[in-house]
Each structure stands twice: as structure tokens, then as C-alpha cells.
């Protein structure tokens, strides 16, 4: 069969105590402040949280694409047993796209408007090969590459003729498919998709998620889906991590989190979800949104938490496994740790 359908080796990604800081004139923004989670081989893991909670920064850190004034200030990013956080840049280049690929937030609107789809996909492949082999043109013939582009387009549900088109000739859904094709061009074992459908209509959203799911299955890859829509998470991911203020509040299997959220923030998120079946009224999170320049003491959520008690403003809770596969960062569960 075609190369696009070859299975890649499943890989584990372990993120340990990741910290990313932006040094701005107004102070240090701790955008990601001690985040740990594991992306298991072949799984779909979701990171959900309101905007500014640090999701995109995590995605960029995993790709080692944090630019000044930002920097990875601590932690490890273990792909198998290699720490990506400590890898020299040239070694990291052979990891990007080939082993771990990112569909960046807003990617579909940042395709090059004056370049045909074909060229944008080929550029992605060649850039990688050049860096790997050190040669100018990589090793592939033009025909090889064009055939590869056609396969990639078909694997994301587009006709091969789309190769000749320019971005403005494509609908939003088609552009997002092109972005998926670019991301999987080198058959990564990990695909990070940062809000891949937030600019799309619901009907198209589902088609894109189905495409992403199909591509993932074909590659045997795992997917890290970043988003803010709990509905989408419920439908797509196996496990979900809930972000608040640069930290993970809770991680667990999707079904369990929806059935019984443990962290008060997750509880508020889930109880305020609109539903067509019951009468809903607006439920708002009380208090001020999190301010990353001036984070509160203790638990980052305590100023807005309806269940805050003495230790919350005083001590920072740590993320702990309070039940099998359920991780929570909240003092309410201080006594519940199984060990």
C-alpha cells in the first residue's frame, strides 16, 4: 500500500513539571507552571481550559518552539527516554514533524496565500529532509514528491487536484484538511492539534474531527487535542486534562470526568454546560479571571472557588492520583491519596 498508510511506532510522551515563562516589561508571566501528564501510545488526550490558561504554550513547548521573551524554565519532556527539553536545536529538528507534529492554532488562516497547496506540503517535507541530510535538495525526485502530496491529500479526504489550488480557493474545512496533511507528511507518532475546529461550523467540525481520527488510526499515532469546548472533548478524547491558570487542575478518563468531576473548577465547568434538554440559565464563574502576571497565593483557583477552605490560600496543592487514573490538584482530596 501507499506510504501514507504505514503504521508508525507508537510512542509515549511524558511531560514532567513543565514550566514556561515569558519575561515581559510588566513582569514574568508563568504561562505554564509545573504541568505533568503522560500521552500514552495511540491514545487521544485532551487539554481543555479557558483562553490564557496555557494550552497553546504547552503545545509550543512540546515542539520546542517557544520564542523569546519566552523560555522553557524547567521540567522534562520525555519522548520515549529522550528529554526534548534538553535536546540541542539541531537534534530537535529531526524530531519535529517526523516524530511529533503540531497543527498550530489558527493554522488554516496562515497558509501562504500566494503558494499552491502542493508547494506548501512539499516545502514542509523538504525542509525537514534538508535539515536531516544536510544536502540542498533532499533525496527525492519531483515525481516522488508529487505522488506523496497526492496520497497525503487523499488521506485527509481531499481530491488530488486540490494540490494545484491556492488557499483562497478553498473553504475553511478544506484548508484545515490541508493543514492536517502538512502535519502528517512525515508520519509522526504524535499529533498535536491546537483548536483545530474552533473557526469552523459544526457540521464541518465533525467531518474534520473524523478525518483527524482516521489519520490517527492509520498512523497508529496518539493525538493531543487542545480546545475549550467540553462537548468536543467528550466526543473525541479518551482522557482529558483540565487547565486553569497555567496548571492542570485535574486529569482523568473522559467518561469519569463527566460523570463525576472531582476538582471544583471542573465541577463548575461541567455544571454550567448548556443543554437543550433541561432549562439552563447562565452560570458564570464567580470572581475575576485569572491574572497570570499576578497569580494568587496557594491554589491558583482559590479566589473563585466555592469550596475553598483554610489551606487553599496558603499552600499550593499538588497533582496527585487520588483514585486509579484520577489525578486532582486540590486540597479537598489531601486525605484521599492512595499509597
Amino acid at each position: 500500500m501507499t506510504t501514507a498508510t504505514t503504521q508508525t511506532a507508537a510512542a509515549t510522551l511524558r511531560v514532567e513539571d513543565l514550566r514556561v515563562q515569558f519575561h515581559t516589561p510588566r513582569g514574568v508571566v508563568r504561562a505554564v507552571d509545573g504541568v505533568s501528564f503522560t500521552l500514552r501510545p495511540g491514545e487521544r488526550f485532551g487539554l481543555v481550559g479557558e483562553s490564557g490558561s496555557g494550552k497553546s504554550t504547552i503545545a509550543l513547548a512540546l515542539m520546542r518552539l517557544i520564542k523569546p521573551p519566552g523560555r522553557i524554565a524547567g521540567g522534562r519532556i520525555l519522548l520515549e527516554d529522550e528529554d526534548l527539553a534538553a535536546l540541542p536545536e539541531d537534534a530537535m529538528r529531526s524530531v519535529r514533524m517526523a516524530r511529533i507534529a503540531l497543527i498550530p492554532q489558527g493554522a488554516m488562516n496562515s497558509l501562504n496565500p500566494v503558494m499552491r497547496v502542493k508547494q506548501q506540503i512539499i516545502d514542509g517535507i523538504l525542509a525537514h529532509e534538508r535539515e536531516r541530510s544536510g544536502s540542498r535538495n533532499g533525496s527525492r525526485s519531483k515525481r516522488d514528491l508529487e505522488e506523496r502530496v497526492a496520497e497525503l491529500l487523499e488521506s485527509v479526504g481531499l481530491r488530488r487536484e486540490v494540490a494545484e489550488r491556492y488557499p483562497h480557493e478553498l473553504s475553511g474545512g478544506m484548508k484545515q484538511r490541508v493543514c492536517i496533511a502538512i502535519a502528517i507528511a512525515l508520519r509522526p507518532s504524535i499529533i498535536i492539534a491546537d483548536e483545530p475546529t474552533s473557526a469552523l461550523d459544526v457540521v464541518v467540525q465533525r467531518q474534520i474531527m473524523q478525518t483527524l481520527g482516521a489519520v490517527q488510526a492509520r498512523l497508529g499515532a496518539s493525538v493531543l487535542l487542545i480546545g475549550h469546548d467540553m462537548g468536543l472533548m467528550a466526543q473525541f478524547v479518551d482522557r482529558v486534562g483540565v487547565m486553569y491558570g497555567g496548571k492542570l487542575a485535574e486529569i482523568g478518563p473522559t467518561r469519569e470526568i463527566f460523570a463525576e468531576p472531582l476538582h471544583p473548577y471542573t465541577q463548575m465547568l461541567i455544571s454550567s454546560l448548556p443543554s437543550f434538554d433541561r432549562e439552563t440559565s447562565f452560570v458564570k464563574l464567580a470572581g475575576q479571571p485569572h491574572s497570570p502576571l499576578n497569580p494568587p497565593s496557594g491554589c491558583v483557583f482559590h479566589p473563585r472557588c466555592p469550596r475553598a477552605f483554610e489551606p487553599c490560600p496558603a499552600r499550593v496543592p499538588v497533582l496527585r492520583e487520588v483514585r486509579p487514573d484520577r489525578f486532582v490538584s486540590c486540597h479537598l482530596y489531601d486525605g484521599a491519596v492512595e499509597s
Binding site: 479557558e50 483562553s51 480557493e169 478553498l170 473553504s171 475553511g172 474545512g173 478544506m174 461550523d201 459544526v202 457540521v203 464541518v204 467540525q205 465533525r206 467531518q207 474531527m209 473524523q210 481520527g213 475549550h228 469546548d229 467540553m230 462537548g231 468536543l232 467528550a234 466526543q235 473525541f236 473522559t254 467518561r255 463527566f258 461541567i270 454550567s272 454546560l273 448548556p274 443543554s275 437543550f276 432549562e279 439552563t280 440559565s281 447562565f282 452560570v283 458564570k284 464563574l285 479571571p289
Partner: protein, 351 residues
């Protein structure tokens, strides 16, 4: 019925011509009266003609056929005095609250300008009072807002300031084109609540344009579903969402990922929209190419609006029902509204 505040009569808008023409809105008739303040949501996928409808209603563009009338007069024939009233009585709120701000002026400027232009206050102190009241009405603390520059405010604050600005003019109708699509879910509720406050406490009607049925359900009484410039279905919001009748509305509702992990959302395979093809060249039902119930007649002629039990539906599956004369939804929606109330249940439509 008294003369409506704003009325669209068989409005069609075509962009471009010949091969490349796009029918953005097709034979659309609708009216907003003044008897009872209402919220009408217009929903549909991108490209379905929602913004075109908003721009037509605001007089930013003129129809290719048909008329848009303000208090009975075609917008193209308003006198100076009428135009001035139109500019005050019909206000707009757009998706991107940044768009209306001049980055070099404090936000105060945005709020004092309409007061000056329409001579709404007799003194500076009076103007200040009006501004503070308007800001407080949308849940903002004037002390925290006034004197600031746009970049010092959050997106949610900026959007609420544009709502406060609209309120200053005491309009009868606000056309809000995707006012919450660029703000966070947690702020969305606050902004929608401001709209509800204006509706309930100041008797301002809204055309609430959205691609998101969830928020339409939360705040609107009536819901119009557009598909490629044509009304697919219209009726009380709760009815249309809970018991969708048009196959397109049904598809829309099924496509919403619900927070119930048991939904099996990923499994249904749906025909593609023929994305990228030109919407202008079709006859018959615009949804026919994707419809699971398509029949030969669907390909031949555009289905009229049928008055079914709960809604107006443009689909031959309902051809046993009476058709709605002239495609005018207003009377129909008025009649259907009897039992209608909006999704959050606390409001019933006045008669």
C-alpha cells in the same frame, strides 16, 4: 398591524454577476414591529447570508431586488430627518469589538461621540451620568473603564462597552452580528446577559446573528435557520431546536458535540457540503445534494415555506401542510409565538 419598525420585502442580494455571481440572500421577507420587544436569532453556517442580512438591515448595502423599509419608507428614500432617526433607532454590534475602537483615544471618546452627535445630553455632567449608567447596566464599573485605552481592556470588556454605547442611543432594535463568537465561553454568558437586560428592561428588540445554536437557544424567542441564503426553517427557538423538522436543521443539531460521552458523535457519516462550489447555481432545494430524504421533486423547484405544526419549514417532506403566502415569516412567527418562550424559560412573548 401598525407600520413595522423595520421590514424586508422579498429581499434578494446578489454579489457579482454572470458565472461568478453569488446569491447571498434570496427572497427574504420579514418584519420587526414595536409592540413587544423580541429577540430573533438568525443562525446558519458560514456563507449562509447572515452578515448580508445584517448589512441590508442596517442600510450598509442595498438589495438587488425587493425593499428594506424603515417605518414604512424604503431606506433608499429616507429624508434627512428620517435617516437621522434610523441611525439612532437601529444600532449594530459586531463580532470584533476591536474594530470600532480607535487605539489612540481613551474609550470615553467612543461613548461621548454619540451623545454629541445626537445631542442626547444638555451638559457634560449629564453626559457623564448617562455614560456611567449605561456602563453599569452592562455590568461594568465606570471607574475601572473610563480613562482607559482600548488595549488596556479585555475582549469581554470591549464588547460590553460597545453594548453600552448602543444603549446610550436608546435604540428600538439592535442588530448583533456574532457578538460573542470571539470571546471566551466564560465571558459569553456575561455578554449575553447584557443583551437580555437591554431587551427586558429597555424594551429593545434584537436580531441576534450566530452560527452557534446553543446561544440562540439561550436568549432568543424566535429562530430563523438560513441555508445558502434561503430560510430553511423558522419558528419559536425552543421548538426548532428541540423538534427540528427540516433535514438541514436536524443535521445541524445532531452535529453539535454534546458533553455526553455516550452520544457516539464521531460515528455518523455526513455528505460534504460541496464545499467550495458556487451556491449561485442551483435550482430546487439548496439542500438536495446533501439531503438523506431527497426526492425527485426536490431537484426541480425550490420548496415553498410550509406551515407545519410548530414552525415554518421549506421542505417537500411537509407538502401536506399549507404553504405560507409570499414567504412572509412575520405573521407566521407571530402566530406560532403564542406558547413560545425562550430557552431559559423565564420569558413569554407579549402579544
Amino acid at each position: 398591524m401598525t407600520t413595522p419598525l423595520l421590514e424586508l420585502k422579498h429581499v434578494t442580494k446578489v454579489f457579482g454577476h454572470g458565472e461568478g455571481a453569488t446569491v447571498a440572500l434570496s427572497d427574504f421577507s420579514f418584519a420587526i414591529g414595536e409592540d413587544a420587544a423580541t429577540i430573533v436569532a438568525v443562525a446558519g453556517e458560514s456563507g449562509s447570508g447572515k452578515s448580508t442580512l445584517a448589512r441590508l438591515m442596517l442600510g450598509f448595502i442595498s438589495p438587488s431586488a425587493g425593499e428594506v423599509r424603515y417605518r414604512g419608507t424604503d431606506l433608499r428614500r429616507l429624508s434627512r430627518a428620517e435617516r437621522r432617526n434610523f441611525r439612532r433607532e437601529i444600532q449594530a454590534i459586531f463580532q470584533d469589538p476591536f474594530g470600532v475602537y480607535n487605539p489612540f483615544y481613551r474609550v470615553d471618546h467612543l461613548l461621548t461621540t454619540p451623545i454629541k452627535n445626537f445631542k442626547l445630553a444638555s451638559s457634560r455632567a449629564e453626559a457623564r451620568r448617562q455614560i456611567e449608567t449605561a456602563l453599569a447596566t452592562v455590568g461594568l464599573n465606570p471607574g475601572e473603564i473610563l480613562g482607559r485605552y482600548p488595549h488596556q481592556l479585555s475582549g469581554g470588556q470591549r464588547q460590553r462597552i460597545t453594548i453600552a454605547r448602543a444603549l446610550l442611543l436608546r435604540p428600538r432594535l439592535i442588530i448583533a452580528d456574532e457578538p460573542v463568537s470571539m470571546v471566551d465561553a466564560s465571558l459569553r454568558a456575561t455578554i449575553l446577559e447584557s443583551l437580555l437586560t437591554l431587551n427586558r428592561e429597555f424594551g429593545i428588540s434584537f436580531i441576534y446573528i450566530t452560527h452557534d445554536l446553543t446561544t440562540a437557544y439561550q436568549i432568543s424567542e424566535q429562530l430563523i435557520i438560513l441555508y445558502r441564503g434561503v430560510v430553511a426553517e423558522a419558528g419559536p427557538a425552543k421548538q426548532v431546536i428541540r423538534h427540528p423538522q427540516h433535514p438541514y436543521t436536524q443535521l445541524l443539531i445532531r452535529s453539535i458535540p454534546t458533553p455526553d460521552p455516550g452520544q457516539r458523535w464521531m460515528e455518523e457519516v455526513v455528505a460534504s457540503s460541496g464545499e467550495g462550489t458556487d451556491a449561485a447555481v442551483w435550482q430546487g432545494c439548496p439542500f438536495a445534494s446533501r439531503c438523506p430524504h431527497v426526492m425527485p421533486m426536490c431537484q426541480e423547484e425550490r420548496p415553498p415555506l410550509y406551515l407545519t405544526e410548530g414552525a415554518a419549514v421549506s421542505c417537500y417532506l411537509y407538502r401536506e401542510s399549507p404553504t405560507i403566502e409570499e414567504g412572509d415569516l412575520t405573521v407566521t412567527l407571530g402566530a406560532l409565538a403564542g406558547a413560545g418562550s425562550r430557552g431559559n424559560g423565564s420569558i413569554t412573548v407579549g402579544s
